[in-house]
């Protein structure tokens, strides 16, 4: 339980810091300007560093994990997605994984029943919650572009329209708000309820979940309940992205909690499991084609070993071999 509580306490503390600092110590400039700049710099710099680091890592051999029939004789049907044999198929495999989480769709659950009976069953809940969470997150992040771009681009307005199509409550209720809360709650509860999951879950699994949950809850609070002056918030953001930092008056402390937690997430991102955002594309077990039997993949840094063929050996000893009546290949 300690593994879950420590991250929870950390997130609560991280949320309290900006509230106290802005409300009582007047550190708005630090939390509204300096830390956001630091966060975006660390996020982008760290992300690029990690990807470049991966790109420089040698991948001499084909090591895809496959679970389908590989390309073989013409009359054996190949499973092109599960065992891709060329670049196009491998790319399709990566992209379907990125967009639809196909590997999670295969998730199974083991249950021990009374007596020595172990049952495995398909379990799609992780797949469903994961998909719901990630897509909601994407929509929410893109929706937030309305705070960063003076003339709100069309795709943001379309997203807002689709997301709020129910047209209930004021301000308009966004579906993704509820979906992301439900999905994160499931993802946390999933780790807590099952003993096997509890055992393998680490603080680094809980921390991002709690952090994103806190960000979402504070954001939802600001939108529907406590309210902030959206105009001033947008002024602040526009000023930031145009490198003319200026802190507008009268933004509630809750906004700084939201912003600071997002900054924490951005700084934490490149050095954590969250880098699976870039890593999913660069996993050799997933993005390589399974063509080891078609093409020869030679390790590029193999040392140049001096070899001697049998033909060379025979050339040297042919006369002696003939005298000793040993068989030779060339007379």
């Amino acid at each position: 339980m300690k593994k879950a509580f420590m991250p929870l306490i950390a997130v609560v503390l991280l949320a309290v810091i900006p509230y106290v600092a802005v409300q009582f110590a007047g550190l708005g400039f630090l939390f509204g300007v300096i830390i956001p700049y630091a966060a975006i710099a660390v996020f982008i710099g760290g992300f690029v560093y990690r990807v470049v680091d991966w790109a420089r890592s040698p991948v001499p051999f084909r090591i895809p994990t496959t679970c389908g029939q590989e390309k073989s004789l013409d009359w054996i049907k190949q499973d092109k997605l599960e065992s891709p044999s060329n670049f196009r198929q491998a790319a399709a495999r990566v992209l379907t994984e990125v967009f639809f989480f196909r590997s999670l769709f295969r998730n199974t659950k083991a249950e021990a029943h009374n007596g020595p009976k172990l049952a495995y069953g398909s379990s799609k809940w992780l797949w469903l919650a994961g998909l719901a969470f990630h897509w909601s997150m994407l929509v929410i992040v893109l929706r937030h572009y309305r705070f960063f771009i003076a003339k709100v681009p069309g795709f943001v307005q379309i997203l807002e329209g689709v997301d709020g199509f129910l047209d209930v409550t004021l301000p308009a209720f966004y579906l993704t708000n509820v979906i992301i809360l439900a999905a994160i709650t499931f993802l946390v509860v999933r780790r807590l309820l099952d003993a096997k999951m509890r055992l393998i879950s680490l603080p680094t699994d809980y921390f991002p979940l709690f952090l994103i949950l806190a960000i979402a809850v504070v954001g939802i609070f600001m939108r529907y309940i406590t309210k902030v002056d959206v105009m001033s918030v947008k002024d602040l953001m526009i000023n930031l992205v145009h490198f003319k930092p200026a802190l507008p008056e009268g933004i509630g402390a809750l906004f700084y909690v939201h912003l600071f937690l997002v900054c924490v997430l951005a700084i934490y991102f490149p050095f954590s499991k969250l880098m699976h955002m870039g890593g999913i594309f660069l996993s050799p077990t997933r993005n390589l084609s399974n063509d080891s039997r078609e093409k020869r993949h030679v390790n590029p840094w193999n040392p140049d070993v001096k070899t001697r063929t049998y033909a060379e050996y025979e050339d040297e000893f042919r006369d002696k071999m003939k005298k000793a009546n040993l068989p030779v290949e060339r007379k």
């Binding site: 991966w54 992205v241 145009h242």
Partner: protein
């Protein structure tokens, strides 16, 4: 052959990275300034609003929503402020002081990308 593969890989990886950088820094390339767009809001002609400026900034939509409900459904058309002043629950009450819907509503709403559904029924003035 091997070198060609390597180059193809690098193009893919760094192309993807460039795409990420474009999306992550998209806002930084956009035009537009903060203050100029919205602060041309027409000044109010009246003396004092029904609530403080700060309250109205954050909660005007809830006030209008409450007005709509109590006026249309319950027939209560008079709004009484905490300090005892009375206002008719009518959009014209707002626009009577804050003249010009164009500047009073649109500038901020467009800036914040919030579409009020008032004008779906009410006639624009």
């Amino acid at each position: 052959m091997r070198r060609m593969m390597k180059i193809k890989e690098q193009i893919l990886i760094f192309g993807g990275l460039a795409l990420f950088l474009f999306v992550a820094t998209y806002a930084f390339w956009q035009e537009g300034e903060a203050k100029k767009i919205r602060r041309q809001v027409a000044k109010s002609a009246g003396e004092e609003c029904i609530e403080s400026r700060e309250y109205m900034r954050e909660n005007h939509m809830l006030v209008l929503d409450e007005w709509r409900h109590s006026a249309v459904r319950e027939g209560d058309r008079i709004h009484v402020t905490p300090d005892g002043r009375e206002f008719e629950k009518n959009m014209s009450t707002c626009l009577g002081c804050h003249t010009g819907k164009q500047f009073f509503c649109y500038n901020c709403h467009q800036y914040a990308s919030v579409k009020p559904n008032c004008w779906g029924c009410h006639q624009a003035q």
